[in-house]
Amino acid sequence: MVGINRAIQLRRRSAAAVAGVFAATALLALAGCGSSTSSASGSYGFPEAKQETSSTITVWVDADRQAAAKAFQKANPDTKIQVVAYDGSANGSNSFRTKMQLFDRAGSGWPDVVFSTQNNDAAWASQKSGGKEAFAGMLDKGLVPGDTLAKFTAGSLNPCTVDGHVYCLRNDLAQAVLWYNKKLLDQFGYAVPTTWEEYQALGEKVAKQHPGYIIGTAGDAWTPEVFFWASKCQANGVTGPKAVTVKTDTNECKRAASMLDTLRGNGTVPVVSVFTPEFVKKYSGKVLMMPGPAWYAGAIFNNPQSLNVPAGQLGIAAPLPWKGEDKPVTGNVGGGTWFISSHSKNLAAAAKFVEFVTTADDYQVNVAPGYPAYAPAAEKWVAKQESSKYFATSLEPVVTAASQIWDGWGYGTFSQEAIWAKTVTTAVTGGKSIVELLPTWQQAIENQAKVNGYTVN
């Protein structure tokens, strides 16, 4: 009997979950009626709650960022914080938004500071939702000093900027660069490509001369961000809080698509996710090069659970331009963000926390695994990485790439990665080419944008 109950529960839980949520919200809504937060017009550009300067602030972080909270506590023992671990809204869980919407309905319960692994949260958090005040506090009207904001790497606050105002601080950057194995490249006698055309030509050479070796992957959901974003393909031209321009029939999109099709065809850019056992099993020691975000270094190359490339082999080249284009641009794959709640009763402490975790050496340089978004911290971080002697080349290209992220690709509320995965990845695995899928991709983006309330141009 238990089995059937279970089986039913298994599916019922969903309905029960939805129903439960309704119930919970109903109860919370009732409970919330009495305790409406009195909001006077604040001095930071949004109506703020009555401030209690010594109150404890609640901080939501993911598992990796608990170290940030710990570093803050050590440096500021007088500021009381309560740390709550959550999944960081990662892997499409969207839990940040989910939870805040429930708090919105309840009218209370918001945390003071939230860390998110995603880049598309400012898009919704900066907007009023169902008549409720926007969750994210505006940061550039005095809550965070202007000169602190100015020291963030150029363009790094773009995902946090909506309608000209900054709603979050960037934790780390995820600019795409060209990672390569210097030892293998020297051994095979290949030069590091300097354009995407040379990259493709190299792939064709590798396929013939050293089959089995790869020069990239196209199986992850961020494939469009690495290849199409860097090719200035306007698939995600977010032009306003609720407007997006989608054009996948341009030459910029086609050249990236056709390059990927060629390299997929000869096996040098397989459609395999880098986070699968399959990737590690098949391609350990066989990754000649791989365009990808800054965090590939720690997550894939210098990771005993993944490729585990020994010290002294991994080189970094600047993002590639297309032939005839004067200036290379690159894409971006994630990079965390810190939000301050507009409902916080202790904005001063919340601001202090967020400034600390994004700028202080105690965390960003000494502890953080990713490339800091705050430029002075990034400099020191790079120096520290170089002194570790892991990399075979200078880290200079990573620094350059940080400010080369193409600004024609925006940060909307819906996930481009999810669209790519369900429309393009599945169809490519089913035997279609990316070039012929470009219109399908366009349609899928338009549909998704529209149901999320965007107007599509």
């Binding site: 298994l10 599916r11 129903a19 309704f22 119930a23 399959e278 549909n447």
Partner: protein
């Protein structure tokens, strides 16, 4: 039956369940005890079943400001580009699953029932039942490994079918069958045990009479046992249908595990979830839930009437 019917079936089951409580010449004390037993369930059903359902009805017919919206929410969700694909997905899954469930559960139950060796029969029932003892979501997690050719214990079979990677296995066309297999694996064992119990209830005299008349095992199964199982099969159909239309856990987990290669709006319930939490449109989500409820009720009614579930002998 200790199974609490899903709240969706409250209406369908209400007449039946009220019946025993009726004071038909029984001692009044027993009735009171009955109320006591049922009260806890009733309270919980009210708080987590009926009230939320009513709240969903209210939400479905109102807009974000609480004003009456008529059918606007319904036309909106039905016009959503994801709605009809989701309907198709769930329908395909339901057909595969329900047919598979009825055929295999009844078949296997008859098989186990015909096993004369006591220990073999017990062992088989235990084995069938075992997967169902795993907690819901964790058994789906187990399948994530089974479906990945690089980690699967049946990778040889997967590769033999031409699937070299996880993504190749979870192609959109394969999903209804995959979900049906997962659901069967996790849920069918319990039903087999129930069917076995039902078969035990058929009087041996009837079976013996059939055998005396010269019926072989197949004829006995088809002519005697199957018709006498009709109500049980209908019951299984009703319960499974309600569960099946609410497909959620399998696609949701598979979606996260495959980094969205399996869409996060595959089933209707997922679409409702997307409405509530991605689009912050609780009214749209409620409209989808309500549509699901109505469809599930209609289909249940067909099963109930066709299966003669509440007919008295």
């Amino acid at each position: 039956m200790t199974i609490a019917p899903p709240s969706d079936q409250l209406v369908a089951g209400a007449t039946e369940r009220r019946r025993p409580v009726r004071p038909t010449g029984r001692a009044p004390g027993r009735t009171r005890i009955g109320y006591l037993f049922v009260s806890l369930y009733a309270l919980l059903a009210l708080a987590f079943g009926v009230v939320p359902s009513l709240y969903a009805v209210v939400l479905a017919f109102t807009n974000t400001d609480g004003g009456f919206a008529g059918l606007a929410n319904f036309t909106k969700v039905v016009g959503d580009f994801r709605f009809w694909p989701a309907v198709l997905h769930v329908t395909t899954y339901l057909v595969i699953w329900l047919v598979g469930l009825v055929v295999f559960v009844v078949g296997l139950a008859l098989l186990v029932h015909s096993v004369r060796l006591r220990w073999a029969s017990t062992a088989l029932r235990f084995v069938y039942y075992l997967p169902g003892a795993l907690a819901g979501a964790s058994s789906v997690l187990l399948w994530l490994f089974v479906l990945d050719p690089t980690a699967s214990p049946v990778s040889g079979l997967l590769r033999g079918l031409g699937f070299d990677s996880f993504v190749a296995v979870i192609q959109p066309g394969h999903l209804p069958a995959i979900f049906a297999i997962i659901a069967f694996w996790t849920g069918a064992g319990g039903w087999i045990v129930i069917m076995y119990g039902a078969l035990n209830n058929i009087s041996t005299e009837v079976i013996e009479a059939a055998q005396v008349d010269g019926a072989n095992a197949v004829q006995t199964a088809l002519q005697i046992q199957l018709p006498m199982l009709r109500k049980w099969i209908a019951y299984m159909g009703v319960m499974s249908l309600a569960a099946g239309t609410q497909l959620f856990v399998e696609p949701q987990l598979l979606s996260q595990a495959s980094n969205a290669v399996v869409p996060n709006d595959y089933s209707l319930n997922q679409l409702a979830y997307q409405y509530a939490f991605q689009q912050n449109d609780f009214n749209g989500a409620a409209a989808i839930s309500l549509i699901l409820l109505v469809v599930a009720l209609l289909l249940s009614w067909v099963f109930v009437t066709r299966g003669g579930l509440f007919e008295k002998e």
